[in-house]
Amino acid sequence: MTERSVQPATNPTVALATVGLSLDVFEGPFDLLITLILNEEVDLLEVHLADVVLAYIERLEARGELDLEAATEFLILIAALLELKSRLMLPGAEVDGLQLEPQEAVEELLARLLEYRRFRGAADWLHERLASEQRFRYRAAPLPPELRRVTLEAARPVYKPERLVGAMRALLRTPPEVDLRHMHHPTVSLERRLAHLRDLLGSRGSFSFEQAVEGADRMTQAVTLFALLELYKSGELVWRQRENFGEIEIMAGETR
C-alpha cells in the first residue's frame, strides 16, 4: 500500500480543471467543457466521454500522479455526464423533461458532489479513528487447555460406546488381497547377464553399454549395470566415459 493511499484524498479538482482536452468538438480545459455542456454550448451527444477519461488519465500518468482512488471527484463528474448523456440518448416523449436548464444541471451535479464530500469527510474521520484506536491492543491468546475442556462434574454422556465398536470394526477390516497372478513376473538372472558381458568382452574386446543392453527391458538394463559393477570390482573390465551422459565404453581389464 502506498503512503499516498493512507492519506485522505487531496482535492483532485485543482488538477482536473487544468486537464487539457483535445476532442473532436472541443479543445480546452475540462472545467470549461463541463460548463459548456451545462450551458448547452457543446452537445453532450457529440462528446466522446471515453476520450475525456483517457485524456485525464494520460495527464496524471505523465505527471506520475496516477492514483485512480484519489480521482474520485473526476469520476463522479464523468459518471454524472454519462448519466446525463444516456438520458439524452433516450428517444421519445421524455426528452422534453430532460432539457435541463444550465442552472438545474449545475444544482444536480452540485448535489452529487456535496453528497460525496460528506462521505469523504466521514471516511477521513474513520482514518483518524482507526489510527488512534490501533494503540489499544486486544488480547489474542487462546484459553489455556485446562479451561478449554469440560469438567468431570459437568460432563454428561454425549458419546455412544457403539461409536468405538464401529471404529474397531473399521480398523480390523483388511483390504481384499490384490490378485497379482495376471502380472508377468520377469526374472533376470545376474548369472546370465555376467555371462553375456563376458561373451561380449571375449568376442569384441571392447563395446559400449548401449550395445550391451540393446533391446533389453528396464529390469534387464538394471541387472546388466549391476553385473558390470561386479566385473569392474573383480578387475575383469574397466570403462571410460569421455563426457557427461556420453557413451560408456567398456573394455577388458587387467586381471582378465
Binding site: 485522505p8 464530500r117 462521505f119 466521514a122 477521513d124 474513520l126 486486544y138 491468546a141
Partner: protein, 189 residues
C-alpha cells in the same frame, strides 16, 4: 476489589471478544445490576494511566485492551504489524456502509461515482462489513460487523459521530457551485 469485580475481570481477560453484561451475569449466576456495579469498580482500576490494562466498552460488550501509552513498547516486543490502514476507496466505502446500512453495492457505486466492488470485497474479507440479505432488486446489501465496532472503538453503531458533522461548509458549497458556473460565464463574456 469485590469478588464479582474480580471474576468479571478474569472473564474479560479470558474472553477474546467483547462480552455483554447480560452474558457476564449469566456466567456468574448473579444479577445484571451486580455486574454493573462491578464494572464501575473495574473502570477505576483499569483506566488509562492506571494499571497498563484498560477496560473498554466496544461492540456492545466489555473487553480489555492494553494501555495506548505502551504502544511503542508493544510494537518493539511483538513486532506484530498493525492492521493495514484503509485505502481511500475502502474508507469511503466503509463510511457509506456505516452511515446508510443496510446499503447495496450499486448505491455505494452511485455515491462514489465509481464501481466499488473491489473495495467492498476487501472490507468484507477484512471482516469490517458483511452481507445482510438482498435489496428488493436483488442487490447484495451490506452492514458493518461487530469487528468494525471493536476496531474503531465504538460502543455500538449509534456511537458514530452525527453525520451532520461532515456537512461541507456553506463556503465550500458556494465555491463548488461557482466553480461549475464561472468558466461558462467567462466564456460568455
Amino acid at each position: 476489589m469485590g469478588p464479582i469485580a474480580r471474576q468479571v475481570s478474569a472473564l474479560l481477560f479470558c474472553a477474546l471478544e467483547p462480552v455483554a453484561v447480560r452474558e457476564l451475569a449469566e456466567a456468574l449466576e448473579c444479577e445484571v445490576q451486580d455486574v454493573d456495579e462491578a464494572v464501575a469498580e473495574l473502570r477505576e482500576t483499569f483506566a488509562e494511566g492506571g494499571s497498563g490494562i484498560v477496560l473498554r466498552e466496544v461492540a456492545g460488550g466489555l473487553t480489555f485492551a492494553s494501555d495506548p501509552e505502551a504502544d511503542t513498547a508493544v510494537r518493539r516486543l511483538l513486532s506484530r504489524p498493525r492492521t493495514p490502514p484503509l485505502s481511500q476507496a475502502q474508507a469511503e466505502c466503509l463510511a457509506i456502509v456505516a452511515y446508510l446500512q443496510p446499503v447495496s453495492r450499486p448505491e455505494i457505486a452511485r455515491i462514489r461515482g465509481v464501481n466499488s466492488d473491489s473495495a467492498a470485497a476487501t472490507l468484507e474479507e477484512r471482516g469490517l462489513i458483511e452481507e445482510k440479505g438482498r435489496s428488493q432488486f436483488g442487490a447484495i446489501l451490506y452492514k458493518t460487523t461487530p469487528l468494525f465496532e471493536k476496531l474503531f472503538g465504538l460502543e455500538d453503531i449509534g456511537a458514530l459521530p452525527d453525520f451532520k458533522a461532515f456537512e461541507p461548509s456553506v463556503e465550500d458549497a458556494a465555491e463548488l457551485r461557482d466553480k461549475l458556473l464561472r468558466a461558462g460565464e467567462q466564456r460568455v463574456s
